[in-house]
Amino acid sequence: MPTWPAHWPQMMPMQHNRSVKAQPAIGDLSAGPPVMRFQYETGKDCLGTVIENVSTAISETGLFSKQLCENAHVVVAEVINNIAEHSYQGKSGGPIQLSIDMSDNKIAVEALDFGMPMPQLAVPCGQRPNHAVPMASLPEGGFGWYLIHTLAPKPRYIRRGHTNILRFVVQDCDDHL
C-alpha cells in the first residue's frame, strides 16, 4: 500500500469520523473494524490497483455474496474514475483515500479527494442514458453516475474545506430493474 506523502493534505483524524456520526447515518466509519483504508494517487495504474485491492479486501472477509462484491467493484471503479477525470481533471498524482466499512453485513464506502468540488456542490443525477435511439445517437457516456445511483442508492456528498467526501452503501441486488 502506498504511504501518504508529507506534502499531501493531512488526512482527517479519527475525530472527524466521530463528528460525522451526528449526521444521518450512512457508512458510519467509527463503528470499529472491519474498516479497510487505502490511499492512492491518480495516474495510469490507479484504477487497476483499486479494483484489485477492493476485490481482495471484500472477498477475503467471506461475508458477502458474489453479486454484492461485483456491485462494489463497479461502483468503486466509477467513483475513482470520476475523481480522476473531474475532481483532478485528468492530472496524475491526485491523492485519493478510500475507506471501506464492512461491519453490519454492509459494504459502506467513503471516498476522499482534494480536487475540484462537484458542480453545485451536489451529486450529479443519475438518469439512464436513453438506448432507444437511432444507432448514430447512441450514448457513449453518462453511464457512470447512473451505475453509481443504481448500485449504491442515495450517495451522500459533502465538501468540507478543500476535501470532497462521498459516502455510499453498496446495494446487494439489482433485480429491481
Binding site: L47, G48, I51, H131, A136, L138, E140, F143
Partner: protein, 114 residues
C-alpha cells in the same frame, strides 16, 4: 491493450488481449477496432470471455465501436459476470447481439446463412 483479429468461418473475431476495458485503453481500442473492421463486410464478433472488468468508459468504447460499423451489427460473445451486469443495467444488452460464448456465436452463422 491490443485487439487481435482473425477470420473464422467467414466471421471476423476480435479479441481484446486485456482483462479490463476502461478509460485508460478506450481511445486506442477504438482505433484498433476501426483498423480491423474497415475492409471487412461480414459478421463481426467480439470475444469478451477474457475481459473480467469493464467500467462505463469501456462500455462507451464498445458503443463507439458499434457506431464505426455504420449500421451493421456488432456481436458480443462470452460476457463475464461484471461485464454482463454493466450491459444489463444500462440496457445496452438490447443494442448489441449477445451470445453466451464463441461456440454459439459461430453456430449462429448457419442460422444467418439459412
Amino acid at each position: 491493450m491490443n485487439l487481435t483479429s482473425k477470420t473464422q468461418d467467414g466471421v471476423l473475431v476480435l479479441t481484446p488481449d486485456t482483462a479490463r476495458i476502461d478509460a485508460a485503453g478506450a481511445v486506442y481500442f477504438k482505433e484498433q477496432f476501426r483498423a480491423a473492421t474497415d475492409a471487412f463486410s461480414g459478421r463481426v464478433v467480439m470475444n469478451l470471455s477474457g475481459v473480467n472488468f469493464m467500467d462505463s468508459s469501456g462500455l462507451g468504447a464498445i458503443v463507439s465501436a458499434l457506431k464505426l460499423l455504420r449500421g451493421r451489427k456488432l456481436e458480443l460473445a462470452g460476457l463475464t459476470p461484471v461485464v454482463a451486469k454493466v450491459f444489463k443495467l444500462t440496457c445496452m444488452d438490447q443494442v448489441f447481439v449477445i451470445h453466451a460464448d464463441m461456440a454459439s456465436a459461430l453456430a449462429a452463422n448457419d442460422a444467418n446463412a439459412a
